[in-house]
């Protein structure tokens, strides 16, 4: 069916792509496990060395706290708002929902400047809230949009049946609609987590204290001090990237299903 030239051309393209995709990852892993910057044996010992030298204990904890807070609060609020927009008549929905959509397009750059100076007035810069709350708000735009699409896809008969059985709207939400929505919710959680974990500008502007630095910031500062050797930097990069990879691997089956369903929907 397929000619031999077509087949070999296909293989060549795919191999080239696989090399392009995997090369940086393999170099990093190789670097992180290689001999240390002073020429010692290195290996797995590079990880604790990078951990202590870059003081990642503190910054990883901050990142976990911020990401956890943002994922949980933005997740619950998005589910509630998406439920209302998707299944009820919200007064002013014709204005309110597009306002949420607007947030998908607003870049962090434009809001971070006034946020910094206004939060400074209230003494909220350099606090956990100054880093976390703006990111909750930004995540709500996507979350509300995403969850509304899910709730709209539910058959109305499901809600009606619940109502006839005497369940209130709160119970219908959490006991009837949320459990089968796991793929959609997991997708939202994974994306929100990745965005929050990787966010750079907001913590950079808000956290002047070293104690409040998130892990990507810690990595950037570590890189600034460590220009000579690549081994410890590679090890540090692996440490900071690890939680995202772990979350993704844990939830990937749900995540991929949710992504594909989301792409088909609407």
């Amino acid at each position: 069916m397929i000619s031999r030239t077509e087949r070999s051309a296909n293989y060549a393209i795919l191999l080239l792509f696989a090399g392009f995709a995997l090369w940086p990852i393999l170099t990093i892993l190789g670097g992180a496990l290689g001999p240390d910057d002073a020429g010692g044996p290195g290996g797995l010992a590079n990880f604790p060395a990078a951990w202590t030298e870059g003081r990642f204990g503190g910054s990883m904890l901050t990142s976990i706290a911020v990401s956890g807070f943002v994922v949980v609060v933005a997740g619950v609020l998005s589910i509630m708002a998406g439920y209302a927009f998707g299944t009820m008549r919200v007064p002013g929905a014709a204005v309110l929902f597009p306002l949420f959509l607007l947030g998908l397009m607003v870049p962090t750059e434009v809001i971070v400047v006034p946020l910094y100076f206004d939060l400074r007035t209230f003494g909220l810069t350099n606090t956990f809230w100054g880093i976390a709350l703006p990111q909750v708000a930004q995540s709500l735009a996507f979350g509300t949009f995403w969850m509304r699409a899910y709730f709209r896809s539910r058959p109305p008969s499901l809600i009606e049946a619940g109502r006839l059985d005497g369940a209130g709207s709160w119970r219908i939400l959490w006991q009837i609609l949320v459990p089968p929505g796991r793929p959609a919710i997991v997708t939202m959680v994974v994306l929100t987590f990745m965005w929050t974990w990787n966010e750079f500008l907001i913590p950079l502007v808000m956290a002047t204290d070293e104690g409040l630095r998130t892990a990507p910031l810690g990595l950037a500062f570590f890189q600034g001090q460590h220009t000579s050797g690549l081994t410890l930097l590679a090890a540090a990069a692996v440490i900071v990237a690890a939680p995202v990879v772990v979350v993704y691997l844990f939830l990937q089956r749900h995540f991929i299903r949710g992504m594909l369903e989301g792409a088909v929907r609407e």
């Binding site: 069916m1 397929i2 296909n10 393209i13 795919l14 792509f17 696989a18 392009f20 995709a21 995997l22 090369w23 940086p24 990852i25 393999l26 990093i28 609020l77 998005s78 509630m80 708002a81 439920y83 209302a84 009820m88 919200v90 007064p91 306002l99 947030g103 397009m105 607003v106 870049p107 962090t108 750059e109 434009v110 809001i111 971070v112 400047v113 006034p114 946020l115 100076f117 909750v136 708000a137 930004q138 709500l140 509300t144 109305p156 809600i159 709207s169 965005w195 990787n198 750079f200 500008l201 950079l204 502007v205 990507p216 990595l219 950037a220 990069a237 990237a241 995202v244 990937q252 088909v264």
Partner: protein, 291 residues
């Protein structure tokens, strides 16, 4: 609550009452918490940015009203014009290249009958684990090795070197989006093309490309915006240098607001960036809808 108290006309069946659902205030109560947080930390600052952009302010002393002066500066200031120009170069690397590569790859990964395809598909999925972000930028930067690092100090090659990192980061996402689109094209279309004697190249341009317009629109929107918003990559790798060869609008916002004390000018750059992103979104949405 209220609708149970109101006496229903005898003709209304329970099912019809059910369709009316909870009262409007009830519905609004579900939206309210999200709306309050969102309005406080996104909508209000957005309005404040527009307000600030009309002033000359160093962040400490009294501000002076300058009207549209900061916007005139966006159009005339050499540094700012250069920054917006660099974004155009980045769009090639962040959006056009990944889309071109992604189209070919997605077509192969979904349609080709080859051994080892599951392996290549897995590689594509793995690439998605972090669509963007500083960690990924740094990973790829370190991973690209000494070559990239040497280029970053070179006035001619610094911007393309930053761009290649963007290409690496964005290609995975684009490929996956397009794979989802291509897998929905009915097989009969391809069979008909083969019977008519179309080769793989004709098949690609006659069937695959027109069928994934909507997915192409999404992919282009996401990647163009990623190019416009590049900040952490520049902050980590070059700091806008050498000279201002890799300076971009996002970096100018940060630099002006928090280093040079030109808050009004920073706000004006931010608002301009936002307007550009809106326009691109609307334009691409139009293209995607027209079938």
């Amino acid at each position: 609550m209220a609708d149970t108290l109101v006496a229903q006309p005898a003709t209304t069946t329970p099912a019809r009452r059910g369709r009316l659902g909870p009262s409007p205030w009830h519905a609004l109560a579900y939206v309210a918490p999200a709306l309050v947080v969102y309005a406080t930390f996104v909508l209000y600052p957005l309005g404040r940015a527009v307000h600030l952009s009309l002033f000359d302010w160093d962040g400490l002393t009294l501000a002076t009203f300058v009207g549209l002066g900061n916007y005139v500066e966006v159009l005339t200031d050499a540094d700012l014009r250069a920054a917006f120009g660099h974004t155009l170069v980045l769009i090639v690397f962040f959006a056009l290249l990944p889309t071109a590569i992604g189209l070919v790859l997605a077509a192969l990964l979904t349609r080709a009958r080859l051994r080892g395809l599951p392996f290549f598909r897995t590689v594509a999925w793995r690439q998605l684990y972090a669509p963007d972000g500083s960690v990924n930028d740094l990973l790829s930067l370190v991973g690209l090795g000494g070559l990239a690092r040497a280029w970053l100090g070179d006035p001619t090659f610094a911007l393309p070197a930053v761009g290649v990192v963007g290409t690496w980061v964005q290609t995975g996402l684009v490929t996956l989006l397009l794979m989802a689109g291509i897998s929905r094209i009915p097989d009969q279309l391809y069979e008909a093309a083969r019977l008519d004697g179309a080769g793989p190249v004709r098949e690609f341009f006659a069937i695959t490309l027109p069928s994934v317009r909507a997915e192409l629109a999404v992919a282009l929107t996401l990647t163009v915006i990623a190019a416009l918003k590049t900040f952490d990559l520049i902050y980590i790798t070059t700091g806008g240098g050498p000279g201002n060869r890799t300076s971009v609008p996002s970096y100018e916002v940060y630099n002006r607001a928090f280093r040079l004390g030109e808050v009004g000018s920073a706000a004006a750059v931010g608002v301009t960036l936002t307007v550009i992103i809106f326009v691109i979104n609307l334009a691409v949405a139009r293209i995607g809808e027209r079938r």
